[in-house]
């Protein structure tokens, strides 16, 4: 946005070549993001809108309309992602805090490196691990939860014998989003001004009190951003969920049975290849729904963060 007032060109301050190139590059990069987003949206809309009104056989066997088809999938998507975030966020904040404020450098640096490495593991590998290792290991655990905590709706059972439930998928997703949440919060924790941390220590704060008094307030909006990025990744994650989750159809908060719906992304992955044009349109329409939901979630988070910052600024 150049808002130079109307003046003769000669009176303009001389702009250097480097400034102009950089301004052009950054403006171009910003525009590129918007264009890419708009392009994705247009593609999803054009290809997906016919999917909203296909003959009811395309929505079978679970439903007969698009709404009936997509609602359980959307529910499954959000449930798995929310489970993932509930598990991953506290764990990530803890790891990040250990790395930035508790561990000596000789441990913190390698630990940070290992967590970053986790982000480089392909999701197929997480999927395989989820089916072959995690699901088997947790199945007896689900049995136990059902027997002892079955009165809680989450564990109403009957427990899946394979362990391939939405909770398992959520755990796998949690491990997948852990690195990004950890990396971002670690950076922000480490940027907390020394001045404020020393102010807290000098008042007689313990290390944890110092963290509560200065690090968390400073990092709050960054922590929300980190969780949102993690949530976004969990909402869209495809392969791991497609492999781990053995989907039923119903909308239920019962986390340990095999009656949970698939997620939108994993459902697309499972059905796209053998799809007829009509079916593909339906799948893309579900993709459009996912796109919009992710967008809304991000907006809501920005708004929440912005609101608390505006309140402080007053």
């Amino acid at each position: 946005m150049t808002t130079t007032p109307a003046a003769p060109p000669a009176a303009r301050p001389k702009r250097r070549q480097g400034d102009r190139i950089f301004a052009g590059l950054s403006r171009g990069a910003g525009l590129f993001i918007l264009v890419a987003l708009a392009g994705v949206f247009v593609f999803l809309a054009i290809e997906g809108i016919p999917g909203l009104t296909q003959p009811s056989s395309f929505y079978a066997p679970q439903a007969s309309t698009f709404i009936g088809y997509v609602t359980p999938l959307l529910f499954g998507t959000i449930l798995a992602a929310v489970i993932a975030v509930i598990i991953a966020a506290p764990l990530s904040f803890g790891i990040a805090l250990v790395i930035s404020h508790y561990a000596p450098r000789s441990i913190a640096v390698p630990a940070a490196y290992v967590v970053d490495l986790l982000a480089a593991v392909p999701s197929v590998v997480f999927g395989l691990w989820g089916i072959n290792v995690l699901a088997r290991k947790v199945a007896p655990g689900y049995e136990w939860l059902y027997e002892h905590l079955g009165f809680i709706p989450f564990f109403a059972g009957p427990p899946s014998t394979t362990g391939r439930t939405i909770l398992t998928a959520g755990i796998v997703l949690a491990i997948m989003i852990l690195p990004i949440i950890t990396a971002i919060s670690r950076e922000i924790f480490a940027q907390t001004p020394r001045l404020h941390q020393e102010a807290a220590l000098a008042l007689g704060a313990t290390r944890w009190e110092m963290v509560r008094l200065t690090v968390f307030p400073y990092a709050k909006s960054g922590m929300v951003s980190a969780v949102m990025l993690g949530l976004g990744r969990a909402l869209g994650e495809t392969m791991a969920v497609a492999m781990v989750l053995s989907a039923g159809g119903g909308i239920t908060f019962n986390l340990i049975s095999s009656s949970n719906p698939a997620s939108i992304a994993s459902n697309i992955a499972n059905n796209y290849k053998e799809g007829t044009p009509g079916k593909v349109a339906v799948l893309i329409a579900t993709g459009l729904v996912l796109f919009l939901v992710t967008f809304l979630v991000n907006f809501a988070a920005r708004w929440l963060v912005g609101r608390s910052e505006r309140r402080m600024a007053r």
Binding site: P104, R105, P193, L195, H196, E198, A199, A200, L201, A202, L203, G204, A205, T206, E209, L213, T214, P217, Y218, M312, A313, R314
Partner: protein
Amino acid sequence: MAKSIDVSDLDIYYGDFLAVESVNMTIPARSVTALIGPSGCGKSTFLRSLNRMHEAIPGARVDGKIIVDGQSLYDPGVDPVEVRRMVGMVFQRPNPFPTMSIYENVLAGLRLNNKKLKKSAADQVVEKSLKGANLWNEVKDRLGKPGMGLSGGQQQRLCIARAIAVEPQVLLMDEPCSALDPISTSAIEDLIHELKSEYTIVIVTHNMQQAARVSEDTAFFNIAGTGKPGKLIEMNPTKKIFSVPDEPATEAYISGRFG
């Protein structure tokens, strides 16, 4: 409540680097002691060893003894957190907590000690501390506003209010006026005069007129060169230091600065 401080054979290190060597001094109670000396001679380092803030820096450590009120600060059983509650500190740059209101800033230290503070008691502490820091009249109508909204000088007085709210025995100040304009500086100097009836105050300053104005005693630190440790050259009543110092080095520093 104010207490005197006895320092003996104190060596202060950053890792392997000896920053301050064998300091011996007695800082009297209810009085202002100024630390002066060229930059890099270890004034801040020495000051931060008095409330065990020095060790908050990785690798930093201290050899020797500091005794406040018969309690040796560096004894193995002593918790640095307890030391810092007894020895308060004001920093070079004002550092109120940015997310807290003026009211909450004053109470921050107290909330750490005593979670369940009654509203009426809290109000009292806030008023008393802000009055003690000569800030009450300026902020009493906007206690709920962020502390960052104040001017630099007001922020520094807020930090002093925050430090005295926990009723420490000693108050350390590291160049508390160096980021402030002359009017704010004079407000803080007035405040130091009032505070010394209740607190033992140690103030680092690079401004010798200020040392002369506010302190009863002055300690002069010096270094032989970069990489060498800082040393206490001389500690004497301020009047004597600025008229007939014992050491030629002190004389040279003071007259050099005054031109």
